[in-house]
């Protein structure tokens, strides 16, 4: 795409993000607490999806352990509240980011040298480590009973009740979401982003244009991990109560699912997938307990017939429309 075309596209994207923020803000008072929660949940999961897809769609690496990173964010917040009595939101999130960064920088050192299949197994193992630690260290994490989360202050503003907190938390989540989306969009369209994609297509050729592949993979991994950690940190106050369920392999699988559903080969795929998945899950859990079957069956159909997910179909439809 040439520069002027791209500049137009860029401005459109910025406008779209602004519009989304505005729409979400405006409809807030019409949503009520239940649907506000759903929206916040969708936005949170959208953040993980973006981070996850940096590795899958853009770098060709499939991670089955992102729930573990999510869990690190969640439990850093939870444990900080429980053991250090921290109740200011921004400090909690900052702590989560620091912990996530430390852990991911060690993990990334190994992960960036692994090819797809080993990477998948590695992240699978990582997710299991975090899950096992959270589940079994009952004395610290309260295991499957879960940790209660109460946050009373955002930027030194106190809230009198959880309901009031959640009301204003909604705007906070939107801001974080928009910032994360903006940063990711710039990242994948940057020189770095293009190099990461090139690595997916042919990492030997990338080496032969003088790029240290491991280093780039490492940074991409770090960013992806931080997104998951931030999402986990954001989720904890939202949920009010965190359990190992969101650190389990099942959740890792759901992250994979929503990304494929929305479309792993498009930027907005994971975001779209996050919302569709949230809605499907909410709806389906009322009519069937075989949610795994539905996930698996639709995923099979997606892989075999619609590998570009929902956004892929949208793309096909819009190009047909344009041809008319």
């Amino acid at each position: 795409m040439n520069a002027p075309q791209f500049r137009r596209r860029r401005v459109t994207i910025y406008m779209l993000m602004l519009l989304t923020a505005i729409i979400l803000t405006v409809i807030h008072d019409f949503l009520g607490p239940y649907w506000s929660y759903i929206v916040m949940y969708g936005l949170t999961v959208g953040i993980i999806g973006l981070g996850f897809n940096l590795l899958l769609g853009y770098n060709g690496l499939l991670s089955f352990g992102h729930a573990g990173l999510f869990g690190i964010g969640m439990y850093t917040v939870g444990l900080s509240i429980r053991y250090f009595n921290i109740d200011s939101l921004e400090l909690l999130i900052l702590l989560a980011i620091v912990v996530g960064f430390l852990i991911a920088s060690i993990l990334g050192y190994i992960a960036s040298r692994l090819i797809l299949v080993y990477f998948a197994l590695f992240m699978l193992a990582f997710g299991q480590i975090i899950f096992t630690l959270v589940y079994k260290l009952y004395n610290i994490t309260l295991g499957s009973d879960g940790l209660p989360i109460t946050v009373t202050k955002i930027f030194n503003i106190s809230f009198s009740s959880r309901a009031e907190f959640l009301y204003y938390y909604y705007y906070f989540v939107i801001i974080v979401f928009i910032l994360c989306t903006l940063f990711m969009w710039i990242l994948v369209n940057s020189h770095f982003g293009k190099t990461i994609q090139a690595i997916k297509f042919d990492d030997i050729r990338v080496t032969y244009i003088g790029i240290p592949v491991h280093k780039y993979r490492y940074i991409a991994f770090l960013i992806s991990a931080l997104y998951a950690t931030i999402a986990g940190a954001i989720y904890a106050p939202l949920a009010g109560h965190i359990t190992p369920d969101n650190v389990s392999f099942v959740f890792s699988g759901e992250i994979v699912y929503l990304t494929l559903l929305g479309g792993m080969n498009s930027f907005s795929g994971p975001i779209v997938g996050a919302f569709v998945y949230t809605l499907i899950k909410v709806y389906l859990s009322t009519i069937t307990e075989y949610w795994q079957f539905v996930m698996g069956a639709t995923l099979i159909v997606i892989v075999l017939l619609f590998p570009n997910g929902i956004m892929g179909l949208v793309g096909l439809a819009s190009s047909k429309f344009r041809k008319r």
């Binding site: 795409m1 040439n2 520069a3 075309q5 791209f6 500049r7 860029r10 710039i186 990242l187 369209n189 940057s190 020189h191 770095f192 982003g193 293009k194 190099t195 994609q197 090139a198 997916k200 297509f201 042919d202 030997i204 050729r205 990338v206 080496t207 032969y208 244009i209 003088g210 790029i211 240290p212 780039y216």
Partner: protein, 247 residues
């Protein structure tokens, strides 16, 4: 000045000695074709010079620097670029982006994650110039995997050129290319080589290409250099005729 000096190079894979006591020097602006039957060790030699593999014995010196502890990436930074027997490229990116990326790497811009790739005018302009020299500029917005076989080879070579190397290693640049396209492909390549005063080593099987475009020919057989000289000398060489099957 010799840009490449190879002395007593040896590489084995298990019991198979792929490169056996190979020695030669190369000056700037030479175009050397390496020919020989399959299994003669030609690609292994290229892999050694481009540092994909490390030698068992012997010395490779590029620009007077011993390459012993140099890996493929550093070799690129030092000025060696290569293309591949089966053309390698970033199939999901456009032709333009393929070349732009090589330029970006050369300029050390690949780490930038806040500057937008598509809006980098300098790199885009340079990329178009290079693509024009290979007659690919009209296909700049094609995806690399949409190209014909000949164009794929050209793209691979143009990526190598974008690195502004001092030594170009081309592994069978015209293999798989249709007869109609072959002359064009070689013309573009040799044109660029001469224009930019680069040294080049080609592995080739097409004898027309070899004799029309090289200043020097090295014949390899079973890992050894059997003959090394100008095209006229090689033509007159009887043992070469035997090895090459009377071509």
């Amino acid at each position: 000045m010799a840009i490449l000096e190879i002395r007593n190079l040896k590489k084995s894979f298990g019991k198979l000695v792929a490169v056996n006591d190979v020695s030669f020097s190369m000056n700037k602006e030479e175009i050397i074709s390496i020919i020989g039957p399959n299994g003669a060790g030609k690609t292994t030699l290229i892999n050694l010079i481009s540092r994909w593999i490390k030698e068992d014995e012997g010395v490779i010196k590029f620009m007077d620097k011993d390459m012993k502890s140099i890996g493929p990436r550093e070799a690129v930074k030092m000025g060696i670029a290569r293309s591949f027997q089966i053309a390698r490229m970033f199939s999901g990116l456009t032709v333009l982006d393929n070349v732009k990326l090589a330029i970006a790497s050369r300029k050390g811009k690949c780490m930038k994650f806040l500057s937008l790739f598509d809006e980098d005018k300098d790199i885009t302009d340079e990329a178009y110039t290079i693509l024009e020299n290979f007659n690919l500029s009209k296909k700049a917005n094609f995806f690399a995997n949409e190209l014909s076989q000949g164009d794929r080879k050209l793209l691979d070579v143009s990526i190598a050129f974008s690195l502004k190397p001092k030594l170009l290693l081309l592994d069978e640049p015209t293999s798989g290319v249709s007869a109609a396209e072959k002359t064009n492909v070689m013309n573009y390549i040799v044109n660029m080589i001469n224009k930019n005063k680069i040294g080049a080593i080609l592995i080739e099987h097409d004898m027309d290409v070899v004799f029309n475009y090289s200043s020097r020919i090295i014949v390899m057989n079973e890992g050894r250099i059997v003959a090394d000289g100008s095209p006229e000398e090689i033509v007159a060489n009887v043992s070469v005729k035997q090895i090459m099957g009377g071509k």
